[in-house]
Amino acid sequence: MNSFHRSIFLLFLCIALPLAPVHADEKGAAAEKFVANLGESALALVTDKAVVGEARREKFRMLLNEHFDLNWIGQFVLGRNWRRASPEQREVYLKLFEESIVFTYTNQFDSYSGQMFEVTGSGENGRYTVVKSKIVDPASAQGNVLIDWRLIEDDGKFWIVDVVIEGISMGITQRNEYSSVIESNGGKIDPLLARMEEILEGLRKRT
């Protein structure tokens, strides 16, 4: 690089550098707001004793679909097996996937005991925006739980694609689990779907 090029490059850097962080900050702030809103809506739903049963699940399902890119997550969880699945299998799978999430989480609503949700910051991680947050338990200082939210952006609209609780990624946990089920069934996808159906049936009974 000759000195002329270098000075042009430096000039460019000088112009670009002050701009970049501002842009990142705005994006981060918007992402933080997005997650904070989700937290508020979820807390309102959990504490609303008037909404129960199927109505509550329906509201949760809406909240889920407004904030989470379930198609993206479902594909990530299935990993390379997604490519091998037929269109019918994919459809059944995504439906079961959503239902399992709805029942798994709404079943735990009643164990809520006054915890608060707080967004604490954000940053960029490769292609993703990561929002940091924590659940504060007023009853115990050791009971705080750190949660990171991994987001993608599409036309100014955010979508959550992973939730990391105390370093444990829900997406990776499920991906590992599902691939273990598929592997132990000789690489076939239908047994996974049958098992998902079976577990979902069990979760329905626990409501």
């Binding site: 890119d69 379930l70 198609n71 993206w72 594909q75 990530f76 990993g79 997604w82 490519r83 995504l94 399992s100 029942f103 798994t104 079943n107 735990q108 164990s111 940053g123 991680n125 490769g126 292609r127 993703y128 990561v130 200082a141 050791q142 750190l146 990171d148 991994r150 993608i152 952006e153 599409d154 979508w159 694609v161 992973d162 105390e166 370093g167 444990i168 990624s169 997406g171 990776i172 946990t173 499920q174 991906r175 590992n176 689990e177 599902y178 691939s179 273990s180 089920v181 132990s184 996974l192 098992r195 998902m196 577990i199 069990g202 979760l203 626990r206």
Partner: protein
Amino acid sequence: MNFLSRIHWAAGVLFVLVALAGCATQSEETTAGPQIYDPIEPVNRMFFAVNETVDTFMLQPTAFVYKTALPDPMQEMVRNFLRWLRSPVVIANSLLQGDTDNAGNATEQFFVNGITVGLIDWGHGQDWGYRDEDFGQTLGLHGVDGGPYLVLPLLGPSNGRDLVGRVVDIFFDPLTYIVSGPGAQNAITIGRNGTEAVDFRARNFDQINELKASSLDYYARLRSIYLQRRDAVIRNGEPDPEPLTADGSKEFEDFTPSDRPNSVTGELPTKSN
């Protein structure tokens, strides 16, 4: 177990680990995706099933009685005491990791709570600001890989590195030297591990039951959770500086949904669903 037999036991464990590592290193490089290395999975699954039986018929009923019958302040005391007993190991490992802040805070806790033999937590409400550290984490921080995933009888999920850590931590524990006689040593080891298990199960009673109920493959789920959690505590909860390693960030970095083949960023030009 007296001191000498502990050393024999430790040597035995190390030998088994070296043997395991030796016979199974070839497959490691070809493993794609998550860093799950489970060369003795059938054996692990067998021990896992035994542990699950113990959980169902002993641990769970005991934890249930414990959490319903024992008043909350007494449960708190049990928990404080267990944490206090652990602090010498935390202090030793913090120092080995060069984390004098953590060691200092744990030391303060040890002496202040020591006034009431650890039963009452005098820092209550603001915590002591130290993390739990063990020798498995110390090894991890110094670049030692996890090695094979292991399920230990009664003790649960572990791996090669953390099993070595457990053994070494015995030597950091003053109780090992204070209490003499194999009978008393055994009683203390069993009593302490048992109480820790009951306390943990009681505090997470419903969550663990829900986790089991929603699992397609509970063994695989816990394995993934254990490995991710250990990686996170080794990094002390900091995000991975190199997003291409064990916490699976690489999986996210490389992932593009197949219905958006032209998208470089995983962002969605038009939401198809």
